[in-house]
Symmetry: C2
Subunit: 346 residues, 2 copies
């Protein structure tokens, strides 16, 4: 899907002052990275030479940090590129996608001629564990976009173990924004040869302008995926950004505080008549309006308040009443609450 | 092909002082671009927001410059990404590749399950015009890498017109480094609905660290190719680089002088006993050693002289005696000539 994602600020003439539309948190500063890149740009060859044919140095640094071998890491030009790479690797397979979720799994699978099935989790564990005959890939976003839900780790372990011939692609792009237990790369490498974990450096370091993500998994599986990468797949400034971000102490970022603020936002939105707010295990949340539609709300908030939300009506299984917001810093959240109250009351 | 391309400086401990191994010309400065990017990096949102879902602004700027419609331009993350994108778009086709040439056409086609045929041009125009039954795509590099040869424009026009059901992918990555007549984007859009032209911003502006290329062609054909792009395929710093480079006066760059220097280098290399130097229409050239092999020569030049050349033995149709060099500025060319003389005489 090209249009219809969040962070579409470029569509509005009025400057956006508070952006709830992508799941990037504005409480993380990318200033040190920008300063580092500026310094690098004083050297002629930082862009005057080809990047490494594959981003070996960054893969080595990540492997060290994650306590796995370099064969267990595959860096890509963003987590979305990882999704397309995996879909291409298994061209013509059958994919089951746990819905509603990020649209790119279905798009990438469709583009690579997969047969695509939707799977909805019902909460009935025995039924949910059953993977339809013939399915070769299962795509799970965890924490899930747009709901923010994290699946119980024991359930995930069981479903992976009970279906050893199925490859599970588990997208942990939002792994740094939850306190719920998730797979670690080391666990997957040691115990789950049929799991590929996707990771985003975008979300973690709040630099979506630089496309950088990675896959971790068993060497034999990942070797196969890597044969489908083209040379120079990651540019110099992107790989240098990754190396810098790994070498630095992380920016101070208080997850517990962000999740408390997220609960505050949820509580306040629930007080507004006509809004239903889903429980979430992370900092973003799905909201349903009992009346009115998300598209009109989005235009109103952008034009009248300089606030950007994500119209979630284009997620499979959702309709025109749904929108998604990611918690930002407190003053911006207050702006959102007030603006939503005005709209719903009018 | 991941390993075995040029510009593999990272493999050597000794600093490389003269790099003939990629076809990037060191007489072009990227200083203004580096200064521009440094300034951009003072703004938080230059990397703190997502790039455009597709690089619309850059495509619009290119369309204006090339006097075509925006639908006739498809920007990619490097010309190599354009090759893989086209191969994916025509998954499972039959591709004929004019050899010897850049390895990525065959690799990309193979990765997308094409049947891949090699076609060698013999100089017998009638035989060369004949495309084998069942071939859907023909890949031509023009000027060709590694030979530097430009095909006569009339021949190219005829072969495209006489095979209207075949898609011709003509890679003009080196278009700014020859005085021979080539297709313009406007010509292709107006007259050749079955041609896709590939272009590189890397070569033109000597910034291979930033991955940026584009395809031009008929809207109906390119619309189809664009359906195979993923969102956010080009990062913010890359698209901003492209916009800057298009808005600026080009760096002073004297092509006639570079080609004269290239002829000087060819003439000098021909004086060295045991070297055969191919005629070329551009600034790089293919050389065959009558004895010894290119791999050993490459190691010797890197370790003893800090000079990097391209071992060309891995091009289809070439053997261990071939290497490729791209003309650089005069003092570096003298270093190369002297070092080669020493090696061949010893």
């Amino acid at each position: 899907m090209i249009e219809g994602h969040g962070d579409d600020l470029y569509r509005y003439e009025r400057p956006i002052i508070a952006n709830f539309s992508s799941n990037v948190y504005d409480g993380i500063s990318n200033k040190r990275l920008r300063r580092h890149l500026s310094r690098l740009l004083q050297q002629e060859d930082c862009i005057g030479s080809y990047p490494e044919p594959q981003p070996y140095s960054l893969e080595k640094a990540l492997a060290g940090k994650l306590h796995v071998d370099v064969r267990n890491v595959c860096v890509t030009s963003g987590a979305t590129a990882a999704i397309y790479l995996i879909a291409q690797t298994f061209h013509g397979s059958t994919s089951a996608i746990v819905q509603p979720t990020f649209a790119e799994y279905a798009d990438a699978a469709g583009m690579s001629a997969h047969r695509v099935l939707s799977k909805y989790l019902t909460g009935n564990e025995e039924a949910d564990l059953c993977i339809e005959e013939g399915v070769h890939l299962v795509w799970i976003c965890n924490p899930n976009n747009p709901t923010g839900v994290v699946l119980p780790k024991d359930f995930l372990k069981r479903i992976c173990q009970e279906n050893p011939d199925v490859v599970f692609v588990i997208d942990q792009s939002y792994e740094d924004f939850t306190q719920k237990a998730l797979f670690t790369s080391k666990e997957v490498v040691d115990n789950h040869p049929n799991v590929l974990l996707l990771h985003s450096m975008t979300k973690h370091f709040a630099v979506p302008g630089i496309r950088l993500g990675y896959i971790t998994g068993a060497a034999s599986l990942l070797d196969h995926v890597k044969t489908h990468r083209m040379p120079w797949s990651v540019g110099r400034l992107a790989s240098e950004s990754g190396l810098f971000l790994l070498s630095e102490e992380p920016e101070p970022f208080d997850l517990a505080e962000l999740l408390r603020e997220s609960q505050f936002l949820r509580d306040e939105l629930r007080k507004i008549a006509g809004l239903e707010v889903w429980q979430s295990d992370t900092h973003f949340m799905l909201v349903r309006m009992r009346y009115g539609n998300a598209k009109a709300l989005k235009e109103y908030l952008a034009e009248e308040h300089g606030i950007l939300i994500r119209d979630a009506s284009n997620f499979e299984g959702l309709d025109e009443h749904f929108f998604r917001v990611a918690t930002q810093q407190h003053p911006h959240n207050i702006l959102l609450i007030e603006a939503l109250r005005q709209w719903m009351e009018s």
